[in-house]
């Protein structure tokens, strides 16, 4: 790991860490927290920092020393009193929660504190979430629960009301860009990537084999044809986009790219030309032309169509079907209103 975890937490979420420090100083740490923030906003880092801080034997100035036995064990992920759960696949099922519940009923192995970290809390099934309710409402002393999620509204409301919700601060756009620049990711891709995620690591993964560059060009080309109302875009779905969408994650990224590029078009049509606000800067000229060519209502309808596609993928609709349907509907929208 390039950076020590507590430094990363500090750098990503200085305000949250400062706040937690203050809470710890006053001994007012609540028993359950829900950390909400997009990928890469440092939820896990903050959780890890809190773990170190709670268990460290000789904290100095509110920071763990990272050298004591406890810290070492936490850093290597071997501490018996820190229990973590994460989604395997798309859901956290009741079975996976079961060992967690067993742990809840036991007191700490060493010392008097126990920390539970549940990643992707929104992916818990209803059954799993419900079976945690009673445990997180009134746990015994020294038991702390941290739940991490990207989507607060997907967490059961009964869970939410039992926790203190802490929203991660969004990262600064300029900082992210600098980091990506340091990794030598080309400028065009950098701008697009930050529209999709806050996680530098994630972007690095996408860019590793040039996939991201292809995806961006593929979507841009598709956009250019489809925005002209050209049905050849339908063919491009098959010849270009489908080839790029090799697994589910990549399908999602492609759909997000499509949503993003039309969002840019909508913004440009609304008179926002500040390149800082846009992601597909290379296509700006084309978008400006679109603004003159089509009415605002048309662009709005198209943007709304693109918003639905992620939802469809979530319902296990085939990727190619989604994009082809979208293409046809966009072309129809753009042509139909022009005839009036």
């Amino acid at each position: 790991m390039a950076e020590e975890p507590q430094e990363r937490a500090e750098r990503l979420q200085p305000r949250i860490v400062a706040r937690l420090k203050r809470i710890l100083d006053k001994h007012e740490l609540a028993h359950a927290y829900l950390f909400v923030g997009p990928d890469g906003s440092g939820k896990l880092e903050v959780a890890r920092w809190l773990a170190l801080r709670l268990f460290c034997l000789h904290p100095q100035d509110g920071e763990p020393d990272l050298t004591c036995a406890e810290c070492q064990r936490i850093l290597s992920g071997n501490h018996p009193d820190i229990v973590t759960a994460a989604a395997e696949g798309r859901q956290i099922k009741v079975d996976e929660i079961r060992h967690l519940k067993a742990e809840f009923t036991k007191s700490a192995m060493e010392g008097s504190q126990k920390l539970f970290i549940i990643q992707d809390a929104d992916k818990m099934t209803t059954g799993a979430a419900n079976s945690l309710l009673k445990f997180i409402e009134e746990p015994g002393p020294g038991v702390y629960i941290l739940m991490l999620t990207t989507n607060k509204s997907a967490v059961l409301p009964t869970i939410r009301s039992r926790t203190q919700v802490i929203e991660m601060q969004p990262l600064r756009r300029a900082d992210l860009l600098d980091q990506l620049a340091a990794l030598e990711i080309p400028k065009g891709q950098r701008l697009v990537a930050i529209g999709l995620t806050d996680s530098v690591q994630q972007v690095q993964e996408w860019c590793a084999d040039g996939w991201f560059a292809q995806a961006v060009t593929g979507v841009s080309q598709w956009f250019n044809s489809v925005s002209q109302g050209n049905m050849l875009a339908f063919v491009e779905v098959q010849t270009k986009l489908v080839k790029l969408a090799t697994d589910r994650d990549k399908q999602q990224v492609l759909l997000d790219l499509i949503t993003l590029i039309w969002r840019d078009a909508l913004l440009v049509a609304n008179g926002i030309s500040d390149p800082d606000r846009l992601h597909f800067v290379n296509e700006q000229g084309q978008m400006q032309a679109l603004a003159g060519q089509y009415s605002m209502a048309q662009l709005l309808t198209v943007s709304q169509l693109t918003l639905e596609i992620r939802h469809l993928l979530g319902q296990n609709v085939n990727f190619q079907n989604i994009v082809e349907q979208l293409t046809i509907r966009i072309v129809q929208t753009l042509r139909a209103v022009g005839a009036e």
Binding site: L232, R263, L266, I272, L300
Partner: protein
């Protein structure tokens, strides 16, 4: 003792302390006072409204020997043991993790034994909606007639998931959402007890953000307290709840009202970069619009103080937008709120939403016309005479409107009438490039055309699949030594092809390979082709030649052509095979009149009717209608 969350410390211990559930608590108290305790209760209601607390208080109240007016004393051993959760006779079960038949069977068996310390054995089954069907059914008999001194209290947030057979065996109490006012008062009480300073506005923000859950309110309050040293500040409350200030909401709303989409998007960007919660923003906006709407109806309907704005603000706000627009805004917001549940990119949704809300304009005529009659129909049965007047007026207005529209239609005339007939797909007017066609036409010969037709399939094989499919319904109609004219059956495909430079280049390349000479490709739509040819003939003076010199050829050649053609057509395959006339290939310019004539019977073109119908009718007379096939080659 480690720190305990506010909602645990301040869990109500008496019925009096349960906020906002007077009806429920009064009923329960009365049941205890008059000693009419049922053996099974169901407490249903949203999260944080006091179901579990009420169940525990009830367990204390029935068992406490010193209870007064139905309230537990909270002093005696039994009360304290129950509060600590140590009394063996009050059993709290988490149905979500003990949801099988086995666990219920266990309850059933143990319920048989009399209580040990207290008077009543109380089973509190929390989250009861998670029980499996089997478990519910196993519970049925016990729930109907449990042993004496056993009380069941079921608590759930989702009463609709509970079988009707269970519900009919219990007394059901519905807990209401806690109003902002009640939550506000309770927080005020707690803070006063804790001796903490607070800003009232901050408490209102928290109370509104809690959405009817007292526990939510206290969780948020807890966080706000941990933010600053024993003080509740508005800024902290806004930060913790992710709400935006009313001033910002007002600014955003006014920008929407004035359709300044760029400004509104800027405001939205500011809100998002501050890390505000999108869901919360939409909820705030909905309640804000609701306030404006209520204020429009009557300023007395809302307590302006609770909203954190001034009276003047509301006056200007309610003047800015009509009620119908407000309704539509709320509809849009509701839709988006539903969709946003599933997304991890709320910012895009919010931006689209902003643009959409800016598009909402007052459309008084259609909206009012719809709205008013509805009101009338509902009002009519109650008070017929004034309503009838209103309807008549309404009808008059409508008639006027209709007349106006009719006139508009008349004035704009043909254009409007044509509109619906136009296809949904936009007809882009791609101009036929006459400059390219005429040179080819001028030098066109039948031989070249036949040549091209023979090579057509080979040429297609040089193209990619999508290009080939485009050309599938096209065919060459004229060719010279250096160019070919290709006609498309459908205008749509013609447009596609003309705008596709790659296709043209590929076709020209293919011809060059096959023929060895450079070839130009020009496209025309098939329906325009005859006209183009005639225009060409007119422009180049060929039609003048026709009546003078060409008359004989025009009448003779076609006749032979027409008389020969059918005889071939009967033997040869009909459509695609070019029925080559026996007469030695006439130069193409001479042929058009024939084709024009061929079209004659169908189009009834007056200019040519006399001369043209001749050969065809003659052919028809000779061979009969069935055999003669008129082709436009």
């Amino acid at each position: 003792m480690s720190y305990q969350a506010l909602y645990r410390v301040w869990r109500p211990q008496r019925f009096d302390e349960l906020v906002g559930q007077q009806i429920v608590t009064q009923t329960l108290k009365n049941a205890i006072i008059t000693n009419q305790i049922s053996h099974a209760y169901l407490f249903a209601g949203p999260r944080g409204t006091g179901k579990t607390s009420a169940a525990k208080i009830f367990a204390k109240a029935v068992n406490c020997h010193h209870s007064k007016d139905g309230e537990p004393c909270n002093q005696c051993d039994i009360c304290q043991a129950i509060t600590k959760g140590q009394l063996n006779d009050v059993i709290e079960i988490d149905a979500a993790s003990n949801n099988g038949v086995e666990e219920i069977r266990d309850i059933r068996d143990k319920a048989k034994y009399a209580p040990t310390q207290a008077d009543y054995k109380v089973y509190i089954i929390d989250e009861v909606h998670m029980l499996s069907t089997g478990a519910f059914n196993a519970l049925l008999k016990t729930l109907e007639e449990p042993p004496a001194n056993v009380i069941f209290i079921l608590a759930t947030t989702e009463p609709h998931k509970i079988p009707l057979t269970i519900i009919s065996r219990v007394q059901r109490f519905d807990f209401r959402r806690i109003s902002a006012q009640d939550a506000f008062d309770r927080m005020k009480y707690i803070l006063d007890q804790k001796k903490v300073d607070y800003e009232e506005k901050a408490l209102w923000v928290i109370a509104n953000a809690a959405e009817g859950g007292m526990r939510d309110a206290l969780s948020i309050l807890d966080q706000v307290l941990s933010f600053s040293d024993n003080e509740v500040k508005l800024d902290d409350a806004l930060l913790v709840t992710g709400s935006v200030t009313k001033q910002l909401l007002k600014k955003y709303f006014l920008e929407l009202a004035h359709h300044e989409s760029a400004n509104a998007l800027d405001t939205m960007k500011d809100i998002l970069t501050e890390g505000k919660d999108g869901q919360r923003f939409i909820e705030d906006l909905i309640s804000f619009i609701r306030d404006v709407l209520l204020y429009q109806e009557s300023p007395d309907l809302i307590s302006v103080a609770a909203t954190g704005l001034k009276d003047e603000d509301f006056k200007s706000l309610s003047a800015a937008v009509s009620a119908t627009s407000l309704y539509r805004m709320i509809d849009e917001l509701n839709d988006i709120q539903e969709e946003m549940r599933f997304t991890t990119h709320p910012d895009v949704y919010l931006e689209v939403l902003t643009v959409k809300l800016c598009q909402i304009k007052d459309q008084p005529t259609p909206a009012d016309a719809q709205a008013v009659p509805q009101q009338d129909t509902t009002a009519q049965p109650a008070q017929p005479s004034p309503a009838a007047d209103a309807t008549i007026k309404q009808l008059q207005q409508e008639v006027q409107q209709l007349q106006q529209t009719v006139q508009q239609l008349k004035t704009s005339g043909g254009a409007v009438a044509k509109k619906p007939a136009q296809p949904r797909v936009k007809q882009r007017k791609v101009q036929v490039n006459l400059g390219q066609i005429y040179p080819v036409l001028g030098a066109a010969t039948r031989k070249d055309l036949v040549n091209i037709q023979n090579l057509w399939e080979d040429m297609l094989n040089h193209l990619t699949v999508p290009q080939r499919s485009l050309l599938h319904v096209s065919k060459p109609v004229a060719a010279s030594a250096t160019g070919v004219i290709v006609a498309f059956n459908y205008a749509f495909l013609f447009q596609e092809a003309t705008t596709d430079d790659n296709l043209i280049a590929a076709m020209e390349g293919a011809f060059q390979q096959l023929m060895g000479t450079e070839y130009k490709v020009v496209f025309v739509p098939k329906n325009k082709w005859p006209q183009i040819r005639q225009n060409y003939i007119k422009e180049h003076g060929l039609d003048r030649r026709k009546p003078a010199t060409g008359k004989t050829t025009a009448s003779a050649a076609p006749k032979s052509a027409a008389s020969q053609a059918p005889s071939q057509a009967t033997t040869a395959a009909p459509a695609s095979q070019p029925t080559v006339p026996a007469s030695p290939e006439p130069p193409l310019p001479e042929e058009p009149p024939v084709d024009g004539d061929d079209d004659g019977p169908a189009d009834n073109q007056p200019a040519h009717s006399a001369a043209s119908q001749d050969p065809v009718t003659a052919a028809k007379q000779l061979f009969g209608d069935d055999i003669v096939k008129i082709e436009d080659n």
